[in-house]
């Protein structure tokens, strides 16, 4: 049975989906749903019926673009049939620069070394005691401090007179404080690491995290020393703080009051005068140090 005639008649009823007359084939960037038509524009038609010409040209190109899109592999989703798009070929600029990699926390380093992988867990967990689903953490979670239990067994080996509810509350507080301390420590180490990264990156070496803590400690000690002498009496007549450590390595040396060698005394006095008034042609301000000081203050 020859059905080609019937098919032809059926096809004639509808308008065609193919487009003729494109000398240069279109280029497509399907990731952005774009078609580039490099065929020259018919200037005569453009002058005569601008809008009609533009509409027919656009319709032809849209038909070709859709023919390409409909040939892409598709998957069926809840939202209907989805076409899988390739990555776009036209490069568009970003709006913000690439994010800088954050320094790793202590746990992240440990996990990486041991090969511990973070597996996502369900938020809701079945609680056997109540027989319902509760969040694993947070508000009304199963891990709550347990102070809501109407009865708490006194654990073996603890003082029977102890208030167990209070003990549980204190334990939770301690956990919170520990967590906070660790978070602070991570933040400080991250700050030092990023600072050190700058220095060593400029030098071309790799940063060493073991020095981070000692570097931070040295920084803090330096600052304490500076703040001690930042008083009106340059630290001389301040009240001593109870339990304060004496700063290391600071010794004072006293010259004898009367010396036989007067030239030394003269030299010392002249050097003081030079520093205060300034030698001929030398600045009062050490420019190098001033720049460094302002930089560090910023």
């Amino acid at each position: 049975m020859d059905v080609s005639g019937v098919l032809e008649a059926h096809k004639q009823k509808f308008k065609s989906v193919s487009v003729e007359g494109k000398v240069i084939p279109l280029e497509y960037d399907l990731g952005l749903l774009t078609a580039y038509d490099q065929n020259p524009i018919d200037e005569a038609l453009l002058k005569k019926n601008k809008d009609e010409y533009l509409q027919s040209l656009s319709r032809d190109n849209a038909q070709l673009l859709f023919n390409e899109i409909f040939q892409l592999p598709t998957i069926s989703d809840d939202n209907g049939v989805m076409a899988m798009l390739p990555t776009p070929t036209t490069l568009l600029p970003r709006e913000k620069p690439l994010p800088k990699p954050k320094p790793e926390t202590r746990w992240e380093k440990f996990a990486k070394a041991k090969g511990i992988v973070n597996r996502k867990k369900e938020r809701m967990v079945f609680d056997d005691n109540t027989g319902e689903y509760k969040p694993r953490w947070g508000y009304k979670g199963i891990n709550d401090d347990g102070s809501k239990d109407w009865i708490i067994e006194v654990p073996a080996g603890s003082n029977p007179m102890e208030d167990q509810y209070e003990a549980r509350r204190d334990a939770k507080k301690e956990r919170i404080d520990k967590n906070d301390k660790r978070r602070q420590r991570n933040m400080e180490e991250a700050a030092v690491a990023s600072k050190m990264d700058q220095k060593t990156v400029n030098k071309g070496e790799r940063p060493n995290m073991d020095n981070a803590r000692s570097m931070k400690r040295k920084e803090i000690e330096n600052q304490i020393l500076i703040s001690k002498s930042s008083t009106a009496s340059v630290g001389k007549f301040d009240e001593a703080i109870k339990g304060d450590l004496k700063p290391k390595g600071i010794k004072r040396k006293f010259e004898p009051n009367v010396t036989a060698d007067l030239s030394k005394e003269k030299a010392g006095n002249m050097s003081i005068l030079d520093r205060v008034v300034g030698k001929n042609g030398e600045d009062l301000v050490n420019v190098r140090k001033a720049i460094k000081a302002t930089k560090s203050r910023k």
Partner: protein, 315 residues
């Protein structure tokens, strides 16, 4: 200029986290500003472009004293405050009538901008046809041979794509392709300057065609604008290069050692290390084991037995 905000509650913290640099970026927000003097054409054009860009658009309804080509510091402030990286500024003056300035920011600093003046514009409300829904992803087409050659055209193409392409997705619903933006380049003028460009927007109607592929019909939806190019500020090369950098995570991963042979089967290659064929551990065939002579064997076992006996004696 802007004070650094320290988050005091979780909501502000989330907003700040959303605004910082990410590997996969948010959809760019655009701000539509009116200059100190505007005309009806410019107002209509801004309103239409704003509707197409919604919901990722901010409309400044008040007039601002803003001249981007002279001083673009205002743009930096607006960009930081609204977390927007795209701008359209509409102005009208005797010297430059019905002008739209498109500007882009990178890291809240001006990246590039260009000026177009509208010769003839028809707003959306003048087309009594159905419009597409807000927030749909459009198709684009650029007709004419100038789109790769002239820097004006290249920047305009990049701007239009950047403004309206929405989110870069890896799949799109076929039923959700509702409208198409078509930009056509007209012929060059007799002086050799770039000619007009014609921007048209159509809704797509899919019709039956007897075959699997649908027949496309277009219905003009607006806005429709005929524009000529004005001034342009191109991006500095190093900033442009930095803005085009793709993070490692988003680069397409090369699949190594997997090929398809002539028959269409997927074939993989496994690379073994050096193997010493004398020392390979193969299956044990107990019957093929080297046996010692029978006397020696009993002697050995006898020795074993003796040792056991000796231990017993000692105990």
């Amino acid at each position: 200029m802007l004070r650094t905000i320290t988050p005091r509650n979780a909501r502000v913290k989330r907003v700040m986290k959303n605004r910082e640099a990410k590997t996969e970026e948010n959809i760019k927000t655009a701000i539509f500003i009116r200059g100190s003097q505007t005309s009806q054409i410019v107002n209509d054009a801004l309103a239409d472009l704003y509707m197409l860009k919604k919901p990722h658009a901010v409309n400044f309804t008040k007039k601002n004293q803003i001249h981007p080509f002279e001083d673009h510091s205002n743009l930096q402030f607006f960009s930081q405050k609204n977390d927007a990286s795209l701008f359209v500024i509409g102005t009208h003056s005797k010297k430059r009538p019905n002008t739209l300035t498109f500007a882009r920011m990178f890291d809240h600093q001006l990246l590039d901008m260009m000026e177009v003046s509208i010769e003839k514009g028809t707003p959306m409300k003048d087309f009594k046809t159905p419009k597409s829904a807000i927030g749909m992803k459009p198709c684009f087409m650029f007709n004419g041979d100038m789109w790769d050659q002239n820097p004006n055209y290249i920047m305009f193409k990049s701007m239009i794509l950047d403004f309206y392409h929405g989110q870069t997705v890896d799949k799109v619903a076929l039923a959700g392709l509702e409208y198409v933006i078509s930009v056509t380049s007209g012929p060059m003028t007799s002086e050799g300057k770039p000619g007009k460009i014609y921007l048209r927007t159509y809704t797509i109607v899919l019709k039956r065609s007897g075959v699997k592929l649908p027949r496309i019909e277009l219905v003009e939806m607006g806005p429709s604008m005929d524009m000529t190019f004005g001034r342009m500020t191109e991006a500095k090369i190093d900033v442009w290069k930095q803005s085009l950098r793709v993070p490692k995570e988003l680069k397409p991963k090369k699949k190594k050692n997997i090929t398809k042979d002539v028959m269409g089967d997927t074939v993989g290659r496994i690379h073994m290390g050096r193997q010493d064929f004398d020392k390979i551990q193969t299956r044990k065939m107990k019957g093929l084991k080297k046996r010692a002579a029978p006397t020696e064997e009993s002697g050995e076992s006898g020795d074993k037995k003796q040792r056991v006996d000796e231990n017993d004696d000692e105990e």
